[in-house]
Structure formats: structure tokens, C-alpha cells
Amino acid sequence: MAEAHPVGFQWVMEAKRKGAKVFHVDPRFTRTSAVADEYVPIRAGTDIALLGGVVRYILDNELDFREYVLAYTNAATIVSEEFSDTEDGDGFFSGFDPETGTYVQDSWQYEGHEGSSGSGHTAQERDSAAGLTHESHGAPVGGQTRRDETLQHPRCVYQILKRHFSRYTPEMVERVCGISQAQFLELARAWTANSGRNRTGMLIYSVGWTQHSVGVQYIRTGAIIQLLLGNMGRPGGGVMALRGHASIQGSTDIPTLFNLLPGYLPMPHHAEHPSFDEWVDSIRHPGQKGFWGNARSFAASLLKAYWGDAATPENDFCYGYLPRLTGDHGTYQQVLNMIDGKIKGYFLLGQNPAVGSAHGRAQRLGMANLDWLVVRDLFMIESATFWQNGPEVTTGEIVPEECRTEVFFLPAASHVEKEGTFTQTQRLLQWREKAVEPPGDARSELWFFYHLGHKLREKLADSPLPRDRALLDLTWDYPTHGPHAEPSAEAVLREINGYDVATGRPLSGFAEARADGSTAIGCWIYSGVYADGVNQAARRRSRHEQDWVAAEWGWAWPANRRILYNRASADPDGNPWSERKRYVWWDAEKSEWTGYDVPDFEKTKPPSYRPPAGASGPEGIAGDDPFVMQGDGKGWLYAPSGVLDGPLPTHYEPVESPVRNPLYGQQANPTRKMYAHPVNSVNPSPPQEHAQVFPYVFTVSRLTEHHTAGAMSRTVSPLAELQPEMFVEVSPALAGEVGLTHLGWAHLVSGRAVIEAKVLVTDRLTPLRVDGRIIHQVWLPYHFGFEGLVTGDSANDLFGISLDPNVLIQESKVGTCDVRPGRRPIGPALLELVADYQRRAGIVPGQHAPAVTTDDEGKEHGAS
């Protein structure tokens, strides 16, 4: 965090000054480690084993915050007797379908809900990255559940959790992660001792957790611990995601993502959602408790914002205009389709996949096989010049005279040359004022898309084709200003906020959303950002003039709430758990919720409220159910649906690992998304043969002085000067083993690529003793490419394409490679070297190991 989110890290240091104990878990010793109380080196890709060890430690020693756990989580809920755990299935839960490599989730449900709720078969959900829709709300589950408040029932969640993690002992943590038992126990003790009524512990992660084939389950394990310890919804608690771009949170909320519409509404699927009613019901789940019950209003209001007068209740608000998913249309599938010639045109809007995405060669070959490419950026990036300067030009794989891709480079406006909002990592929207006009032809995306939209509509004005109606009926009339006719970002923000269709009055929040076409809302979770016709995101009351919650600086979704589920900061009766941790509480005199933050609860619903039998929607949420976006109002220790690779996290080895999974016969996540394509490959892992061809683990991350794929830092002289060269960090032991010299060269080889880097021999990398042998890890920054002031080979070229099943994120925080001294070969010799490694490793491009691990005798594990 000190490296990649330095200014945010000041708050960790403030907490430390006030007595907080800081643990830093990382494969590499960083600036964060240097000031932490304890640095815990870990083998990349084994965090679930570590965190699972903490869960076991909590449960075995009964250190959970019992009152919180009983009242606010599903610990007492009883699960179907059809459910069987990975302990019984050697790494598989019940319901695995080897045919599709996905689960049928019926047996995971709460007792009495088998088959009646949840996702059922998940193959289609995996393709549409359906897990992402849960960013704003829980997965479906029936509202009424059977519970055992004594937590003794063998099938209650608490007992299932206990059994599931029973083998995640300190010895096992040491064996899997390479963390000593003493250090593990110190971490577990500190975490539990600093949680409870009077104290809270906080968990902070970044893409070191998400970019894995089990990324979502990493976060789930963290959430389980934080729920068990009562650290959710309370000040100083929580699971903090540190996101990596100025508005990456915003671009998920208002998604430029294939599977989502604004506010986490799913993009419709051709078979699942043929009609508006079926689409809406799939979101709101009739009969379910919680606020998601109002989904019809949110959906209708979005379509109304899109298609205005043309959208009426009679025509289902033009639902028919929406394009439909049929499967996986994610960025990696797209790139493979480009290589196969299926995609005509590609827009790159401030993103540089030639350097920033996994398997850089596949990215560049894909771009070299388009009809046209539009690059909008501040600088001439690698993704615009691959046809001229890319590594494939040197190897002869891309010949400029034979490369057909027509490239348009359009300069973009910088952050000071346009106005608008970024949503930072805590869901806070901050408006930026415009300082100067953009230079020359540089324009904002707002300008580009607004005017592109007008051009398209002009060209189609006389079109009789039904398919052009969606463009022609679109509301697209934003006021413009200035010399370049820049559209008004405030007008767009007002539409995002939503308005009353008849009067144009901006809505005050999503509670005003209606399903009858009388409201239009561009993104329901942002409703309120323009309440009273005031740009709330532009508020800048100084921190000196308000309390520590700083509610008048910018605007947080939803409803300017700074801590989600903050009802949990009070006990079931509505009183603060302790004076020290007072945040939101029930004021009995005024009969309302009050506190420092906007209460995440209906303001006047008393703690004593009990729903009438059969109540659904918000009415079904009891006065002591803080998790109001969950179908049962509870925090989920166990997820009966919504997580595709299991109701509980399980340690699987990374897709590429030198280590045989010590916990289960199943080696890697059996539900991971794999692509059998000639350009793609996976290095062998045990129990497959030839794993020793790639004996070392590599991991990548950021430098303080560079940003992502380098387009905004390798082009900026002070930053380029601070970090001028691509390098690889290796331990002295590995340097000795391989014959590397400090400041000399090394090259690294995977089944996809070979890259070179300067060698930094350093104790920052610790050789780890894992399962009786030494595992060496090397570390690389991933910022370098072949354009800019400083250049170098791209670390992401080493990775293949394997994805997490829930959100289709790639495993790009861990892989295997070989490390060799000296510089890499160039030209065709480079290709020969990779081909030689592929031969030795038995890699056949286009084929991958079966999802289900097969042992030496050819026996499949678990999937009986």
C-alpha cells in the first residue's frame, strides 16, 4: 500500500501511531513492510490457506464475536442435507458437473430451499461473469430460513465452516504458504485480540488478491474472518479494496463492461431474459427480502433515461432494444476472436492492452488482425504502434506491409482539460473543475462520443431498419458550450442522478424511482448526487470545518453513506457496541436512527421490528438485520449461491505452480475459465509431468513511480528518471543457483514468451520452505513497454490466459517460469527458444490440462 497507494497509506501510519499493529503479507518486502510491525513473506497464490488458517484459529478457540455472529450473520442457518463439502470430495463440493467444469448449486442451498432459489446451474453465469452483479447486493436466497441459535446443529453454517477449515492448521499454513507457525500465530493472535466490542481490525487488499484464478474466494475468506470477528459495518473495520485507477470504481458502477448495465443491472441474456418481466424478476427475485426488491423501478428508470419518450410501459420501455449476451464476451475472449478474424473494429479509450493485459503477444497479434483500431490517449502508446515497433515486428510475426489494421490515433483531453467526476476507491465521487482548454485536436471522451453519436444518427436518419431505432430514439440532446461544442458534463451527471420526467426535477435519491415511466435514472445507485439540483460531488467543505467522517466532501454512493451496512455498528437493540466504537445508533426518544454517518437502514424502523409472516422486499428486513441488500438480511459466512466456485473458499494451487496441492487431490480451481486456443498455453504443474521445466514462481506489481502500463508515467520525465529500467528482483540464493549477477542481465522464459530484465539481487525476496523444499520467487514491475522515455520488456508477456470463474479476471499475480543469466535472444531465435521450452514441457499450444486433476494412475480426483 505504501508503494501503490502512498497517500492513502498515511492513514495506516496514523493508526499505527495510535497503537494499531500493522501486518504486511506479501511475497516481496516493500516500503509497506519496512514500516509494518511485522512482515510476513508468503508464497504467491496461497492466501486462502493462510486466511483459512485464521478462520480455523478463531473457531477452534471460540474467539468469534458471538453476539454479532449470532445476530448478524448466517452462522446459525441450517444448510441442506444434500450438501457435501470439499473435505468429503477431495477438493470438490457437491454438484460438480465435469462436462462443463461448473457446479449445480441446488445442494448448497439452505434447508428447505433446495432447487427453489439460487443459481442452479452456473455454466452460463460463469460466461457472463455474473458474480459482478453482486457488487451492490447479495445473491438470491429465500427469505425464510431454519436456524439453530445454539450453533450445535451439525448442518448449521457455523459447524460446516468448522469442518471445512479443520485441516487448515498452523502446520498446514506453514506447509502451504511457507509462513512459520510462530509468525502465523502472532498474526492470528493480533487479529483476534484487536477485534470485538471495543476494537476493530481492518483488512486491506488490492489486485494482489483479485488477479487469481480463485480471486473472488480470496476476498470471501477475508470477509468471513471480518464477519466472525464483528468487523463489518463498523468504524475502523471492513475489507478495504484499494483500486488502481482514478475512477475504476466508477467504471464498474457505470460500467464499460460487457455483462453489466449501470448500477449493476445485468446485461440481458438471450435465453434467460427474453422479456422485460423475466429480466426484472431475475434481478429482484420475487419473495426475497431486502432493497433489491425495487429492481423494477431501477430497470424501468434506466431504460427511460436511455430512450426517453419512446420508452413506455406499453412497450416495456424499449427493453427490446438492448443487445443480448449469448455467452462469454469478455476482453480475453475478444482478443482470441480478433486473432481469429471475427472482430472488425476496436476502440481503446485510455487503456494499453499491449502492455497492461495478460499475454501481451496475443493482444498485439489480435490488434494486428483488425479492420480498424481507434486509439484515444494522451500519448502514442504501444497499443497504437504495435504494427511498427512491437516485438513481433522483430520476430517477423507482424510485417507492417502485410498488417491490414487501419489505425486512428485521436489525442485525448487530460484530467485538467475537462470537467467531470471520478469515483475513488471508497465509492466517493469527486467533481473536477476544468482548468484549461485541451491542446490542438485533443478532446474529452464526452466530446468524442457525443459527436460520434450525432454523426451516426445523421447518417442513419432515413434508415427504415428496425435495428437502427435504438440509435435514433436514444435521448442524446445534451447542451454544449465553448469553442469545440463540448457537451455539458453536469447535464450528464443530472441524467445519471435521475429526474422526474414530467417536471424535470432532479430526484433526491433512488427511493423516488418509479416503475411506471414517471422517472428516468441513468444509474440508480448514484441517485442523490444531484439532489436539489446541486452538484453534490463538487462539495469541498474543508476537513478543518467538519468532523472526521467529512460527509460534506464529495458524495459517496449510496445516499452519501461512508460506511456500508453501518447498522451493524450498533448492537441488536440499537445501542453502540461500545462508546469507543460508536458510529450509528437508535435514538429511542426521537424514534430514529442517527449517528455520524447516514444510517444504512430505514430511518424510523425500530430495532424491535419483526416482519409479518411472508413479508418480502424492505418490509421483510427485521429491525436487527443490518445487511439490507442481502436476501436474508444477514452477512454470509457461507454463500448458498452467487459464488460459482463454492459456498466456502478452498485452497487451490495457482493454475501454474511448482507445488502439488497439499490439501486436496484437486490441484487447481476446477471451475476456472480456460481457453483452448493455439496462441494460449498453460505451463505444467504437478501432478503433470515436466513441471520442473519452469521451476520458479514469478509475481508482478507496481512501483510507486510508475502507473499501470506506463502510458502516464514512462512518458513523464520526472517519473521516468526515477525508475528508468525494467528489472527483476531475485534473492541472493537464487542468484547463486542460477548464476545471476547484481546489475547484470537475466531473461525469464514461460510457455508464452521470453523477456529480459536487469538483475537486482536483494533480500527483499525470501526463499520459502514449502512442503519440505525451497521455493524461489522472483518479482517484476509490469510497467514497461517499447514506447515512451524509458523502455523495457513487458512482464505481462509471460502470462497465459486463465480466468477466475466469477468475474473473468485473469490470473496475473502468479505464474511459473525459468530464469537464465544474460540477455534474451532476438528475432527468430527468440521464437525458437520459447518453442524449445514448450517441447521440453510437453506443451501443445491450443491444449490445456483437464480442469479435474488426474493423478499418475490416470485416476480423476474427487469428481465421482
Binding site: H245, F258, H270, P411, G522, M712, L789
Partner: protein, 189 residues
């Protein structure tokens, strides 16, 4: 220079008679540094902004002189950053004023070995034509069972996490209306 001016210009004199007995402030100031003014003092305007790099969201003040960015500093009012910026945020002025920035449209024809110039409006027009052609070639009205698809899989887009919410909103809205659903950004990776 008269004797009096000479003596008063002497730092020790100023140190002993002025408000700076330790001689670390005004007393020690030279004429040169007295004549200096901060770029932030002489700015024509200041814009309240936010750092464009990571998602911490540090507050920035962008100082403008003669229509150009003259300085970017941390915003001391921000409860997030309390005026601080890391090396990247501090380099924001170099970012926006970098001589490497492209300020004109560049165009590479198929099979060409070089870039050419192109008018912005022409580029926009050509891109619009290519979108319509790609839709024409790849449009899917219905699936094999006659259920609506309303889409093109011939167009892709990548990027959004560095852009404004308002921009992402228009991007998604326009692409959705044209039937293009292969829209992705950094959040996926």
C-alpha cells in the same frame, strides 16, 4: 545606496531589530528571494481537481497562468489526502504539459509503414462509417430460435477506468444503442 540602506540591508541588523531574532526567516532573506513570488500567488485562476493516477483520489489544486497550467499542488482541504501527493500526483503538471503528448490526429492506412495527418472531423466521419459498416457485416437480429439478439459482435471497446463517470455513461449508452456489447475496461483486469 545610502549608509542607512546599507546597514538596514545587513542581515544581522535586521535580525537584531526585526521580528526574526533567530535569523531563520525574513531577516535572512536576500533581495533575490524577496523578489521571488510563488507561481501559486500569481495564478490567474485555480481549479479544484483530483489526481488522475490511482484510486486514492487525492485532492489537487490546478493553478493557471495565461491559459496554461503553471502548477499543480495537493489540496490541503481534502480529508482524504490533507494536501499530500505522492511522486505520481506531484508529477501531474509534467504529465499534462509533457512535450510527448500527441495533440494532432494521426492516421495509419492498412499496410502502410508510416503515420499520416488527418483532420479531426474527417477522422470522426471515417470512424462513423466504419462502425456502420461493421454493424452491417456482423449484425445479428435473432438467435437460431428466433429470440432477439439485437447486436453486433464485430465491434469491441476497452478502457474506462481513467475516464469520468459522465464519459463512461455516454460510452455505454451509445455502444448499447448501436448494439455493441463487447465493451470492457481495466476493472476486468
Amino acid at each position: 545606496m545610502g549608509l542607512r540602506t546599507f546597514i538596514e540591508g545587513w542581515p544581522v541588523y535586521r535580525q537584531l531589530t526585526g521580528t526574526d531574532p533567530l535569523g531563520r526567516g525574513a531577516a535572512a532573506k536576500s533581495d533575490v528571494s524577496r523578489a521571488l513570488t510563488a507561481r501559486t500567488d500569481t495564478a490567474d485562476s485555480v481549479a479544484r481537481s483530483v489526481c488522475p493516477y490511482c484510486a486514492v483520489g487525492c485532492g489537487q489544486r490546478v493553478f493557471v497562468k495565461d491559459g496554461r497550467v503553471s502548477q499543480i499542488e495537493g489540496d490541503p482541504d481534502s480529508p482524504i489526502s490533507r494536501g499530500r501527493l505522492c511522486p505520481k500526483g506531484s508529477a501531474s503538471k509534467s504529465l499534462v504539459t509533457s512535450p510527448l503528448r500527441q495533440t494532432t490526429v494521426r492516421y495509419r492506412r492498412p499496410y502502410s509503414t508510416q503515420w499520416e495527418d488527418l483532420e479531426l472531423d474527417t477522422a470522426l466521419d471515417m470512424i462513423a462509417d466504419r462502425i456502420l459498416a461493421a454493424r452491417e457485416q456482423t449484425w445479428e437480429d435473432v438467435d437460431t430460435q428466433g429470440r432477439p439478439l439485437n447486436r453486433t459482435l464485430g465491434i469491441s471497446s476497452l478502457g474506462g477506468a481513467t475516464l469520468d463517470n459522465e464519459e463512461n455513461y455516454l460510452i455505454k449508452k451509445l455502444f448499447t444503442a448501436m448494439g455493441a456489447l463487447q465493451i470492457e475496461n481495466q476493472a476486468r483486469i
